[in-house]
Amino acid sequence: MNGAVDQRLESILEALLAIARQDFKARAPVGDDLDVVDAIATGINLLAEELDGEVASRREMEQAYEALKRTQAQLVHAGKLAAIGEISSGVAHEINNPAGWVLLSLAVAEREVKSARAAVNALDFTPDELKQLLTKVDSALADAREGLERISTVAGDLRTFARMDGEQLEPLDLNEVVRVSCRIAGPAYRSRARLHLDLEQLPPVTGNRGRLGQVVMNLVVNAAQAVPDNDAERQQIEVSTRLMGERAVLVVEDSGPGIAAALRERVFEPFFTTKPSHVGTGLGLSLVREIVRAHAGEINVAQSRFGGARIEVVLPLCEDDAEPVTGRGPESGPTQENRLRILIVDDELMLLKALRNYLSISVDVVLADGGQEALALLEHDANFDLVLCDVHMPTVDGVAVYEGVSERRPELIDRFVFLTGGALTPRARDFLARSRPKIVHKPVQAEALSSLLKLAERRARRRAMAR
C-alpha cells in the first residue's frame, strides 16, 4: 500500500475514532477519485450522519416524554383538586345541616330561658310551668349537642382525606375507610340511589388512608353519577368487601347503564368518560387505577348483577399481623376511687376551661396556657398521671414540650398524649410520623377522654404496684 493511501486511511481512521467517541459530527475526508478509499470514507460519513440524526431524534423523544410526564403530573393534580372539590361540597352539606339545627336549638333554649327568667322575676309561674320550660330547654340543648356531635363526626371523617398528598403507608382497616368515604360521599348519592354496605370482616391492608379513601369516594361518586336521576328508590349502589386468599376485595356496583365490554379497558384512560361533559373530569377512574397500582393492587371492570357497572379493586393484605391504625384509644372509663392528676397544655383558653369543667369531677386538673408555661411548670412539678398537650401552639409548640419533657422528665414520656386539630407544620408532621406518640384528635370527644383516663389509671395502678 502506498504512502498516499496510508495517509487517507489514517484520516479515515481518525474520523472513525471520533465517531466512536460519540462525536457524530466528525467526517472522514473524501477525495476526488471516488475510489474504494473514498467509498469507505463516504460510507463512514453517511453512517455518522444517520447516527447524529438518531441521537437528535432520541433527544427530541426524551424531551417529549418529559413534557408528557409533566402533563400527566398536572392531570393528576387536576384530579386531586376535583376530588377535593367533591369532598368540600360533601363536607359543607354535612356540616351546614347540623349547624342549622344547633343554631335553632340554641335559639329555642335562649327563648325559653328568657321566658323563665321573666316568669321568675314576676313570680308568675306554677311549678308545672317551670318544669315544662326546663324540659324544653333540656330538649333544645340535647338537640344542639347531637348536632355538634354530628359536626364533630364529619370533622373526624375529614381526617381520612387530610393527607391525600402523603404517601405514608400503614396497616389500616379497609372497612373503616369505606364507611368514612361513603359518609363523605353522601350528598353525591343520597338523592339518586340507595347505598348498601356489605362489609365482611377483613385483616388489615397496607395502604395510605387518604388515597384509599379517594378510591372509594371516586367509585361511589362515579356510581351515583351513572344511575338515572329522579329514581332514587329503585336505583342501587352497593359497596362490599370480602377476603380472597391473601387479598382484600372491594367492589362498588351500581344499577346504571353499565359500561360496554369494548369500552371497559378505556375507562381508565385519562379524560375518557361516558358521562355528559358537565359531569366529572374524566380523570376519576384513571386516578383510581394509579392509586390502586401504587398499592400493588389490581382493578377490573365488569357487569354488575344490578345491570350497571361493577368495579372490583383487589388489594394485598398486610404481610405481618399488624393491628389496624384507627386513631381511637382503648375502650375504658375513669374510676372514682383514686383521683388521677393530669396536666392539660393548650393555647386555647376556652378549650382548657371546657376540659377542666368536664374532667374535674373525676380527676385533678392542672392547666398550662401554652408550651412555655407547661415547661416552666414541669420544672418543679412532674407528678402527673397524664399530660394532654396540643401540638400546634405559638412560640413553644407541642413537639418542643415533648422534647423538653423527654430530656428533663423522661418518666413522663409514656404519659404524654397529643391533641391535634389536624393543621400540622411539616416539622410536627415529621415528628408525629417518626415518634408515633399517642394522639387524640380535636374536637375532643367525651369517649376519647374516658378512654385516656382509664388507660392512665391502669398505668398508675401498675406503677403503684411496682413501687
Partner: protein
C-alpha cells in the same frame, strides 16, 4: 430533445417517455439540490408522473436531509419509478444507503448497467 439544467445536474426528457437525470462529477447532494432536481424533472415531464433514470455515478455525497426528502411520500405524485445508475465505489455506497435505509415510496432499484436500467423503467409497471 427537451433538456434542462440545475447547478449540479443535467436533465433530458427521453423520447421513450422517461427523464434522465445525470449528476455532475463530484456532486454533493444537499437538500436544496435535491429539491431543485425534483422540481426540474417534474417540470420537464410536463408535470406528469414519469419514470426517472438517475445517473449517480459522479456523486460524492448525499445528505441525510436529501435522503429524507427523496424518500418522502411527496415523490409518489412526481415519479412512476426510479432507476439509480451506479458504478464508482462511492456511488455504490451512496445508492445502497439511499435505498436500504429508507422505505422508498415508489419502485426504486440500483443498476450497474444503463440499458438494463432503461429496460426496467420501460417494462411492465414495476
Amino acid at each position: 430533445m427537451v433538456s434542462a439544467r440545475t447547478r449540479n445536474c443535467s436533465f433530458v426528457l427521453d423520447e421513450r417517455g422517461f427523464v434522465l437525470a445525470r449528476v455532475d462529477q463530484g456532486m454533493e447532494m444537499d437538500i436544496d439540490s435535491a429539491r431543485a432536481a425534483v422540481r426540474t424533472t417534474f417540470e420537464l415531464a410536463g408535470e406528469k408522473c414519469v419514470p426517472v433514470l438517475v445517473d449517480l455515478r459522479g456523486i460524492r455525497y448525499q445528505s441525510r436531509e436529501a435522503r429524507d426528502y427523496l424518500s418522502s411520500s411527496e415523490m409518489k405524485a412526481k415519479f412512476a419509478a426510479v432507476a439509480l445508475l451506479i458504478e464508482s465505489p462511492v456511488s455504490q455506497v451512496v445508492g445502497n444507503f439511499f435505498i436500504r435505509l429508507r422505505q422508498q415510496p415508489v419502485p426504486t432499484r440500483l443498476f450497474l448497467d444503463e440499458k438494463l436500467a432503461v429496460d426496467w423503467l420501460l417494462g411492465p409497471v414495476p
